[in-house]
Every structure is written in C-alpha cells, then in structure tokens.
C-alpha cells in the first residue's frame, strides 16, 4: 500500500483541484487504461458521500476520453448503467467522478448465490444492456468485474465504457468516429510472412504504428477501432513501409527456401516473421482526415499496384489443412477484438469485421454460464483460437463451423466434438461429484493424427487415455456428498427450470444474427413474474 499512497499523492499533484473536494481513501481498481480510487466528498448538505474516481491513463486521446464521458452522460445514470457526477482535468490528466457502489467480488459469492439471486442478476444485466444497446453502444467488455453488484441492496451498475464502440446508427455522437472500420485501412495491412529468396520488393503505403504490447495487466484491451497496430514479433523494429514479397508463380517453381508450417522447435519457423494486429493501448484515432504518408517508390507500376491493394493470388489451401507462401503473404484481416479473453464471441475470435451489440449478449451468456455452473472464469485461454476450441467443446465443433459460415468465415477443425447439453454440463460442473472424466466426445476425426506429435516429455498422459474412463456421475438430487455442511438448503439449485438453459442456449447462439437481444431476453419466460 506504500505504492498506493504514492499513487494517491501523485493524483493530487496531477489534478490539484481534487484536493479541495475529495479525500482519496484507497485504490480500488487498476486496469491497463485507468486506475480507480475510492474517495469521499463533503457535499454542500454536509453529508459525506463515497465516490469512485477514475483516473485515465494520460496517453488517452481526448476523443476517446470524451466518448467515454458521453456514454456515461447520455446512457448512464439509469437502468443499471453507471452515470457520471463530475469530471476534472488538468492538462493530460482526466479524472471521472462516479457514484460509488460497494460491490461483491464475483468469485467470492459465485457459489453462495441462490438461484433466485442469479435470476435477478441476469435480469438486471439485461436491463443495462438493453439501455446501452438502445443508444447504439457496443460495450465490448461485459464481464462480472464491469457489472457491479451489491447483493444486500440489490443494486447493479454496468461500468467502464473505455472500450465501447458505436453501432453504425449510434446515438452517441463521439462514437461515430470510432466504430469498426472493416475494410478501411485494411489495404494498409501488408504482412509479408514468408520471404522467398530474392523477391520483388514492393513498397506499400503502410505507415505503421508498431506497438509494443503493454507488459502490464492487459486483460482488457483497447479496441483496434481506434487504430491499426502492427507488431512484428522478434525483430520488432520500426518501419515506415512494409516490404511485401511477391512471388510470381510459387507453384511449379523450384525454391530452396522451403517453408513448412509444421512446428518444429528450431526448424524453419524462423522464416516466419510473425506479424499480428493487436489491440493494445496503441490506437490511432480515426478522424475524418486520415493521413497516409505514402512512401515514394521509384517504380511507378509497383506503387500503383500497391496503392490499390495488392492483388490476391489464388491458392488451393482454402478450407484444407494447408497454408502456403501465397495465402500467408496476404494481408491480415483487421477486426476489433478488444475485450477480455474468455468473454469474446466467436465472431470476434474469428475476426469478423462487422461486430454488433450481439457480442455483448454473448458475454452476458458467458456470465450466465458461470453462474449456472459455479465456475469462474469459465473459459481460460491464452489466445483466440484456443478460446474458440474451448467454445467448440461446449457448443459443438460442427455447430461452430456452420455458424461461422453465416458470418463469412471458413473454419477448419480436425477435432469433432459434440455439443453439450447445457443442463447436464452445468449440473456436472456445479455438483460435488468426484468423478473425473472426459466429456464423451468423438475422438479426432482423422485417426492417423490421433496423437499430438509434440507430446512434451513431462506430460503425464495424453488426454485420449482419459476418454476411456467410465463416467460415474451422481446427480445432485441424489444428495450424496452434495450436502452443504452448514445447511441442506439447495437455494433453488435443485430445481433449475428448463427456461434457464433455454435462455443460456439463446445467449450462446453461435450465430450473432439470431442471438437473442437484450430486449428479447427481458421478455424471456425465464423472467416471468420476477420480483422487481
């Protein structure tokens, strides 16, 4: 807390006006883009009120700050959406003052909530989402830590519009400059990944912000809607232009610089200069004036080709188990993916450029899944495709692939995993059954590749052997071992209605176009005669 004391001092220093108004007590939160403090203010009425002071990272662009404030002022203050009381600024330091809502830690209460409390929690979350979606705000970071819950007071607040984006018809003026720009700028995404000997170098108009991923807690990231960031792994040097290697006819031409995507720790993988689009704090603000500095190229034809987006050479890898120098030399598609791993919808994970308010509904579904299963975080993945694989194990691989087709993505997955019955899944995970079993799915679809070749020596066993185990699941109703030590009260968990799992199914709809909306969710039978 010595560090916190220092932070508080620094905050007073940075924004001296605060001294006269607030007693800053403690730091109650820290993210990549802000720190939140608890403070008290002496009101004119003589009453001392608790408030939350959000100190934004000084590198935030004024437009972004203003957009966040506009979300709070326009949409906030009712229907469980956090509002704003004041805002203070000195130079690049901005402090947003909000009412303080004392709240629980989700993890702490997760397994003590009654079923009725879960119903109320979800109802109130949908109220908040209905409101922000009505204003055309996509929150992008819906998760328990951004939905404050006071159990005693039954008060709720959706917070943090730091990552918010506008829908095309958003009512938040300042989000209009900052919604997903799918095609825009993607021409600038030139990512040579394979260098093929002596290639023709084409200079491309691509002034790139090379971003270094913040080493600090990056659980929540800023949306790439404000920026297009490139990160060259390994030699992360600065570059004003990206050289794109065009290999005329790769097929049928002998090249000794063979690239294999097959992973061998020290094989040809160093040929691959991985570049990726990330969405950390680096964000180039999209304003109406988009400045593109074109690097002059001596070769006029090359420049012409480059400025009009590179031609995409066809290849035969599409929807197969292959990649080649041709398809890997195409530019990466850029899509927003700001948010928190584990809460990202499949269309986010697969880089769908058009993302809607439906991504928030997916996140709400993940929260609901945690509440029903007693597991938090439910998904735990370090990268987007692992997250997608985990989603497949719950929702089914075929189903995931089919849904992805509807939003323009070809997904190939070697593993065939069945969709889980949500009730069975949640009850198993919530129950105190000691059975340790693998979900009974089919094995890999291609048996010759049944075992991973790179089984590390320290791995105790391949998961395939687990699958042979027999399930011994005792249902919760049988009570064996499921008795609480303190009480036998099941808090409604022994009779979860089908409506709960029906709603969960509709929230975790793999197809964003048919996924339930917040407005519809509030009318779902699950909430009939809810006590308000």
């Amino acid at each position: 807390t010595a560090g916190v004391k220092k932070d508080i001092e620094k905050l007073y220093e940075a924004v001296p006006q605060l001294v006269n108004v607030f007693k800053i007590k403690e730091k109650i939160g820290e993210g990549t883009f802000s720190s939140v403090y608890l403070a008290t203010a002496q009101l004119q009425t003589g009453y001392e009120e608790k408030m939350a002071l959000k100190h934004l990272i000084p590198t935030s662009h004024p437009l972004r700050i203003a957009a966040e404030l506009q979300c709070l002022t326009v949409a906030g203050g009712q229907d469980n959406v956090m509002g704003v009381k004041y805002c203070f600024r000195k130079n690049d330091h901005v402090v947003i003052v909000m009412p303080y809502l004392e709240h629980e830690s989700f993890l702490d209460i997760l397994n003590s909530l009654s079923f009725e409390e879960v119903r109320e929690y979800m109802f109130n979350l949908f109220k908040a989402l209905r409101r922000i979606h009505h204003f055309g705000i996509v929150h992008r970071d819906v998760k328990p830590s951004n939905f404050l819950y006071n159990r005693q007071l039954k008060k709720y607040a959706l917070v943090d519009f730091g990552l918010a984006q506008g829908t095309p018809d958003t009512k938040i003026e300042l989000l209009k400059t900052a919604h997903s720009e799918d095609q825009q700028g993607s021409c600038l995404q030139m990512n040579p990944t394979v260098t093929l000997g002596n290639e023709v170098s084409v200079s491309v108009t691509a002034p790139k912000q090379i971003a270094q991923q913040s080493a600090s807690k990056a659980a929540d990231r800023r949306s790439s809607s404000f920026s297009k960031i490139q990160m060259k792994q390994g030699r992360g040097g600065k570059e004003d232009s990206v050289h794109h290697s065009v290999q005329r006819s790769v097929f049928g031409e002998r090249n000794f610089n063979v690239y294999s995507s097959t992973y061998q720790e020290n094989s040809s993988t160093k040929l691959i200069k991985q570049s990726k689009v990330i969405d950390v704090s680096s964000r180039k603000l999209i304003t109406k004036k988009k400045i593109i500095s074109t690097k002059t190229v001596s070769n006029g034809a090359a420049r012409k080709a480059a400025s009009a987006c590179p031609l995409n050479l066809p290849c035969d890898c599409y929807a197969t188990d292959r990649v080649c120098s041709v398809c890997l030399s195409r530019r990466q598609q850029v899509a927003p993916r700001a948010g928190t791993p584990g809460f990202r919808a499949p269309e986010v994970l697969t880089k769908c450029p058009t993302q809607t308010t439906a991504i928030d509904m997916w996140s709400a579904g993940i929260i609901f899944l945690s509440l029903l299963s007693g597991r938090y975080p439910f998904f735990k993945a370090s990268d987007d495709l692992t997250a997608l694989a985990q989603i497949m194990t719950v929702r089914g691989s075929r189903e995931t692939i089919q849904a992805a087709r509807t939003f323009g993505k070809s997904v190939v997955c070697t593993q065939v995993v069945p969709t889980q019955n949500l009730r069975t899944l949640c009850e198993k995970l919530r129950g105190t059954s000691s059975s340790c079993t693998r979900s009974q799915g089919e094995g890999p679809s291609r048996s010759e590749n049944n075992t991973a070749l790179l089984v590390a020596a320290d791995k105790p066993c391949a998961p395939e052997t687990l699958g042979k185990q027999i399930q011994h699941l005792q249902s919760v109703q049988e009570g064996d071992g499921a008795l609480e030590t303190k009480e036998t009260d099941m808090k409604g968990w022994d009779q979860v209605p089908d409506e709960a799992y029906d709603l969960l199914d509709k929230l975790l709809d793999l197809n964003p176009a048919t996924r339930i909306t917040a407005k519809e969710a509030l009318l779902h039978p699950f909430f009939k005669d809810i006590r308000l």
Partner: protein, 127 residues
Amino acid sequence: SAIYKNVISGRLKSPFIRVEDRSRQYRPFYLQLSSFPFLNYCVPKPYSPFEVDKKYPGQKQTQSKERNKINSDKDCGMPAQFPQKDKKKRGYCECCGKKYEDLQTCVATLNISFLEESKQKPLCQFS
C-alpha cells in the same frame, strides 16, 4: 513429409484450427495444439474446467505449453509477474502517436498544445 516438391506450402499438424475469411482475400490464421481442449470435470469449483494448473491433484495436464503459436493472436492477459514497484509501463500514446517504453517519459514529453489544438470542448464539470 507434408511438403510438396516445388510448392512452398505446409501441412498443419492435427489437432488444429484454421480460420480464413470466405472472401479468400485475407491471410488465414491457425493454431496447432498439442492436444485439443476438453471439459475436465475434476477441476474443483470454482475453477475453469479448462484450468490446466498442476496444483490440483488427480488432474491431468492437458494442454502443454508447447503449442505452436504461429499466426495466432496471443493474449498477454496473464503477464509475467513483475514486481509492482519500478514497473515500467510500456504502451502506446494516442496523443503523440508513439510507443513508449516508460509511461513517465512519454507523459513528460507530451506536447500540451496538442490538447488545445484538438478542438475538443474543454472537459468540465457536469452539474
């Protein structure tokens, strides 16, 4: 070997996931896993059924860290544990349009006139 003569292509090792836009205009991205994730019911509550922490007895290590991370967007959501003090905050400044190694130095060099130029109404108190 999965490499065809004269063709610079690679075959992905199973299990893998490969994603490509149906327009075929963009680079595919993929992930090769040493093993496909599965629902592990023996992980105790409240942990994720995908938790692969060795601290749970009787639990099998399922997802080796030996994954091929090529061409997959990594999340650094779980950064290495740095001591909280003297932690330099690296990142990107939206105002300068530069990345910085240390937040303090960036903020120090921030051109304040930028704020004036930025045509934003001054942020002020809301009543």
